[in-house]
């Protein structure tokens, strides 16, 4: 996503780090394109990519061309877009709910979207999987939100608890679907649920890209308001925020991006939690810079994780397993490190 960093009014000694965050996804993508079971030289990657735009770079009819353009490039783009959706939604939801410990996975959006997808695959093949994912993802976060909203302000632990409950419920519903469908469909649901980019094609890239564009563009434009909204409902209102409207736009936008990503790549957890935290540690909590940098960081992280998933063993490990292996210890680290700073006053 093209973005011009324009906070020139602030003296930032960490300009270098910001620049790095914006370059990182492209560097990761380049590495991901030449690493793999079939060896491709780094320069050949550049020649093939260059050849798409400028014909004189075109290396001619080589096998690498098909591998890069038809297999690896859609996969890398899909991973990057999914990472953008998850990290962008994560940083947004953390701000909206004033809670550094939530992400689309913890709030139940992923579980809800996966039920929508499973229903579509298993029982209603004529209903578009993306629309089902969006409806159920949005429904899940709505239930989490209202369950946690006991009296006005939402406090931290009840929100996480509500998310856990909603996730458990929707996961159980997915299990019922798995139990009832025929074995052929079961196999595709199970593999897809694990979260993988192995089946990536250009159609999926367009779907995920549409979700990122439609869902995260309003979030990106409204990013500075997240600072104000994280002050709490009453304060945000007296500061002049149209709270209901703004919150609705941000939650619907995040859910849209995540649901479409889930519909093509399955459930991939923890990215939405980890990436915003890492960026916040490096660059501070101002959402004006945090939102675009988390989105870019999410792309880089996901491409990196998928490259590991592809190359670590002879098999193509589902990338959701890799992010969970990295994410669970990270969550424990946050709890240990932060104490009050992360959990705050409940």
């Amino acid at each position: 996503m093209p973005f011009k960093e324009d906070s020139k009014f602030k003296v930032q000694d960490s300009r270098f780090i910001s620049g790095l965050i914006y370059v990182l996804p492209f560097a990761a993508a380049w590495v991901a394109l030449f690493l793999g079971a079939y060896g491709v030289s780094p320069s050949m990657v550049l020649r093939v990519l260059g050849g798409v735009v400028f014909p004189f770079f075109d290396p001619g009819d080589v096998a690498e061309k098909a591998i890069i353009l038809d297999i690896r490039l859609p996969r890398v783009l899909l991973a990057g877009l999914t990472g953008m959706a998850l990290a962008g939604a994560g940083v947004t939801l953390q701000g909206v709910f004033r809670n550094p410990l939530v992400d689309p996975f913890i709030l139940g959006i992923s579980a809800g979207a996966s039920l929508g997808c499973a229903l579509s695959i298993g029982f209603f093949p004529s209903w578009p999987i993306q629309i089902m994912a969006f409806i159920f993802g949005l429904g899940a976060v709505a239930v989490t939100f209202s369950a946690a909203k006991m009296q006005g302000e939402i406090s931290r632990l009840p929100l996480i608890l509500a998310g856990v409950i909603v996730s458990a419920f929707f996961t159980a519903m997915v299990s019922i679907v798995k139990f009832l469908v025929d074995p052929m469909k079961l196999q595709s649901i199970v593999f897809w649920l694990m979260g993988s980019f192995a089946l990536a094609d250009w159609r999926m890239v367009w779907i995920a890209g549409g979700g990122v564009l439609a869902g995260l563009l309003p979030v990106f434009l409204m990013r500075w308001r997240l600072n104000v909204m994280s002050m709490g409902d009453d304060e945000a209102r007296t500061l002049g925020i149209h709270l209901r409207r703004d919150r609705l736009i941000l939650i619907v936008g995040s859910s849209l991006a995540v649901s479409l990503a889930v519909s093509v790549s399955g459930i991939i957890g923890w990215v939405g939690l980890m990436v915003p935290h890492l960026v916040r540690m490096l660059r501070g909590p101002d959402h004006r810079a945090l939102v675009p940098q988390s989105i870019m960081g999410g792309a880089a992280f996901m491409i990196f994780a998928d490259t590991i998933a592809r190359n670590l063993t002879g098999f193509d490990i589902p990338v959701g397993i890799i992010t969970a292996i990295l994410g669970a210890p990270f969550f424990v680290f946050l709890m240990r490190k932060g104490g009050r700073e992360n959990w705050g006053r409940a």
Binding site: F9, K10, V11, R98, N99, P100, P218, L221, M222, R223, W224, R225, N227, V228, S230, M231, D234, E235, A236, R237, T238, L239, G240, I241, H242, L243, D246, R280, G284, P285, D286, R288, E341, G344, R345
Partner: protein, 257 residues
């Protein structure tokens, strides 16, 4: 600003929390709202800022009814300094003050250079510009309170409401914050309303006092006329002696030793 006949109850059937509260507040003056816990001070503030909708009553400013205004429009007229608190993320002081510009920044935009300059100027006015890049979570309670005052000033409203601005502060910082608030009220001709617990601070810093109890106004007028032994006995149920210290009145509670 004219507050007229504000009446509020949480839901029908429950007793009124505010019963026909009316008073007038003047620009350039500080109005202290005194009253025991549960007297309706907080409720009055929530009604004035539009967080709660009173069943009856109006708030007029320059002939317009403030209660009819929408969120951002009202936020350009009334700024609130909440009690000092801890935000979920360690924003810098500058980021905090900049939030005061929210009502002036379009929903799909980020603050402009002018907004940054306004924030910077209010920090300078309050003498906290050296804290600009410090984390709000890492400064003292007095500094946080001043940052919140700066944020409210950045909102550039004619009316300023302060919710117990001294409650978390030590003696020195209480005086420092209130001195700055009084100076700014005079300088910028702001209508200032603040809730206070200590009648002595009201005597030192307020021009007008509104004494609330059980949802109604018990006394209203110039601070040194309103704060009397009889009023404090009636409103708070405590026995005090009001002394005269070279023209400044001092409230001294009678406590057995």
């Amino acid at each position: 600003m004219t507050v007229k006949d504000i009446t509020f109850r949480h839901s029908s059937g429950q007793p009124d929390v505010l019963r026909g509260v009316s008073f007038e507040a003047l620009p350039g003056r500080i109005h202290a709202i005194l009253g025991p816990n549960g007297s309706g001070k907080t409720t009055l503030f929530k009604c004035l800022t539009g967080l709660w909708r009173p069943q009856r009553g109006e708030v007029f400013y320059n002939g317009q009814n403030l209660l009819a205004f929408s969120g951002p429009a009202r936020a350009r007229l009334i700024a609130v300094v909440p009690q000092e608190h801890e935000p979920p993320f360690p924003y810098s002081v500058e980021d905090m003050v900049l939030m005061g510009r929210a009502a002036h920044v379009d929903a799909f935009a980020v603050p402009s250079r002018r907004d940054y300059e306004t924030a910077e100027e209010t920090m300078r006015v309050l003498g906290i510009d050296h804290l600009r890049d410090k984390a709000y979570t890492r400064i003292s309670g007095g500094e946080r309170q001043l940052a919140l005052v700066a944020r409210a000033l950045a909102q550039q409203t004619p009316i300023l409401l302060l919710d117990e601005p001294t409650s978390h502060l030590d003696f020195r910082h209480q005086l420092q914050v209130l001195k700055k608030v009084r100076w700014i009220a005079r300088e910028k001709n702001l209508t200032v309303l603040m809730t206070l617990h200590d009648p002595n601070l009201a005597l030192l810093f307020a021009d007008q006092v509104v004494a609330l109890n059980e949802g109604g106004i018990q006394a209203h007028g110039p601070a040194d006329e309103v704060i009397t032994e009889a009023m404090l006995a009636r409103v708070y149920g405590v026995e005090v002696t009001v002394l005269d210290n070279n023209g400044i009145k001092v409230v001294s509670p009678r406590v057995e030793k």
